[in-house]
């Protein structure tokens, strides 16, 4: 379409712009950009400039194709925007400085109890710390990137109710809630890490030297452990939703269900004797009473959690 002899330079430029754009925008932008470049080249060539120089000058004037593509793009051109950035860095820092050393210490302690060598203990602890750190960084980033994109259309909806100073949260309570959110996140990450690592982080071994996990192997065979971890993580998701979004009936119902699901699952597991590993109890030489008390303890904690979730949900509904 271009009349310039070295049309390939323009073609390559346009290609570079289009790569940065969603497919549905491409045909029209290509057509228009091609015409605009050809017009500009023609104009320069008309005043006596050699066509190749004119083309190069026009493309230089248009600048980096990536920046031009960014100008055309509709969606956010950043992963985490200014509105969420400070929350992101605060949460990431809090998680990294708490969970990483905690996992390292837990792994080191478990290995030391199992009688590993010093270098073995240090190596495993460092490896576990690194893995935990990478996971925390990745998933926190993914979570905030998702919030960034999910919140974008919602911003318009939130504006429907005009803002008044009365909507200001009390600074201490918001800070308190932020602290609460951070500690809930840290606790969730630690709990999930402990559950998933428990088959390795055990103090007991078979005579053959294989580790005996404290939790029932049935959980892994059936995949129930992953369901449980998913429920706990979903609950954390609702904690974030509650923090970032206004109170609404669907959110409150979903949040209460998310709060109640993990403890109810736990009660069911304990009641059916699926929580503890009988082999572990035997290897540790516990009396039959110990698992019973552990079970009762877990059920009591679960019931308290359920009551707390229901009472808290009702209180939030009243105070909204």
């Amino acid at each position: 379409m271009t009349s310039a002899p070295s049309g390939s330079l323009t073609d390559r430029y346009i290609q570079a712009v289009l790569t940065g754009l969603p497919a549905r925008q491409r045909p029209e932008i290509e057509r228009e950009l091609r015409a605009s470049i050809a017009d500009a080249v023609e104009d320069r060539a008309g005043s006596g400039e050699p066509a190749a120089d004119a083309e190069a000058a026009v493309l230089t004037g248009l600048g980096d194709p990536a920046r031009l593509a960014a100008g055309y793009a509709d969606g956010p051109r950043h992963l985490i925007g200014p509105a969420l950035y400070s929350g992101y860095t605060r949460l990431l820092t809090a998680l990294l400085v708490t969970a990483v050393p905690a996992v390292a210490v837990a792994v080191a302690g478990a290995r030391a109890v199992q009688g590993a060598t010093l270098s073995g203990v240090l190596g495993e602890a460092l490896g576990a710390a690194l893995t935990t750190g990478v996971h925390i960084a990745l998933w926190t980033t993914v979570l905030f990137a998702v919030i960034e994109r999910a919140a974008a259309p919602g911003r318009g909806a939130r504006r429907e109710r005009p803002w008044t100073p009365a909507a200001l949260p009390d600074p201490p309570s918001r800070r308190l809630r932020y602290g609460e959110l951070t500690s809930v996140t840290v606790a969730t990450v630690l709990l999930c890490a402990l559950i998933l690592l428990s088959p390795m982080l055990t103090t007991e071994r078979t005579p053959g030297g294989d580790p005996i996990g404290p939790l029932s192997p049935w959980l892994w065979e059936t995949g129930v452990v992953y369901v449980f971890v998913a429920l706990v993580v979903a609950d954390l998701g609702y904690a974030f939703a509650k923090y970032h979004a206004r109170w609404s009936v669907p959110l409150a119902v979903a949040g209460t269900v998310a709060d109640v699901a993990p403890p109810v699952t736990l009660i069911w597991l304990v009641a059916n004797g699926k929580a503890l590993n009988p082999a572990f109890v035997q290897a540790a030489g516990w009396s039959p009473d110990v698992p019973r008390w552990v079970g009762i303890g877990l059920v009591v904690i679960s019931v308290i959690t359920v009551l707390n979730a229901v009472v808290g949900g009702i209180a939030r509904a009243r105070n909204r």
Partner: protein, 112 residues
């Protein structure tokens, strides 16, 4: 003296909205991208091509410009024209520009 970079940043901030107003006023008579760029330049509105072309698409998406492909000539070109909504916006922006000019005039008139 002002550092060049600082000046450039603030000039860009100050001019950002003026290009929109200039486009809406010029495009009361339909025109295509490159010709508009040329016109803006001749009339004293410095704007880069890589700013103008995405801007035209955004204004079209906001319903301030309407467009038509002219395929009668050898090179098909997309012609933009200010819509009724765009004309109304241009009216409002012009009024604002004038009241700002007056306000600045008063400011500079008050010698400290």
């Amino acid at each position: 003296m002002l550092e060049d970079e600082l000046l450039a940043t603030h000039l860009q901030e100050l001019r950002r909205g003026t290009v929109v107003l200039a486009c809406l006023l010029i495009l009361r008579k339909p025109d295509y991208g490159y010709a508009l760029l040329d016109q803006l330049d001749r009339r004293g509105f410095a704007v880069d091509a890589n700013t103008l072309y995405p801007l035209l698409r955004r204004l079209e998406k906001q319903g301030l410009l309407s467009s038509d492909w002219n395929t009668e000539e050898s090179r098909p070109r997309k012609f933009y024209r200010t819509s009724d909504k765009g004309a109304a916006l241009a009216e409002a922006l012009s009024r604002d520009w004038e009241s700002l000019t007056t306000a600045f005039g008063h400011l500079k008139g008050e010698q400290p």
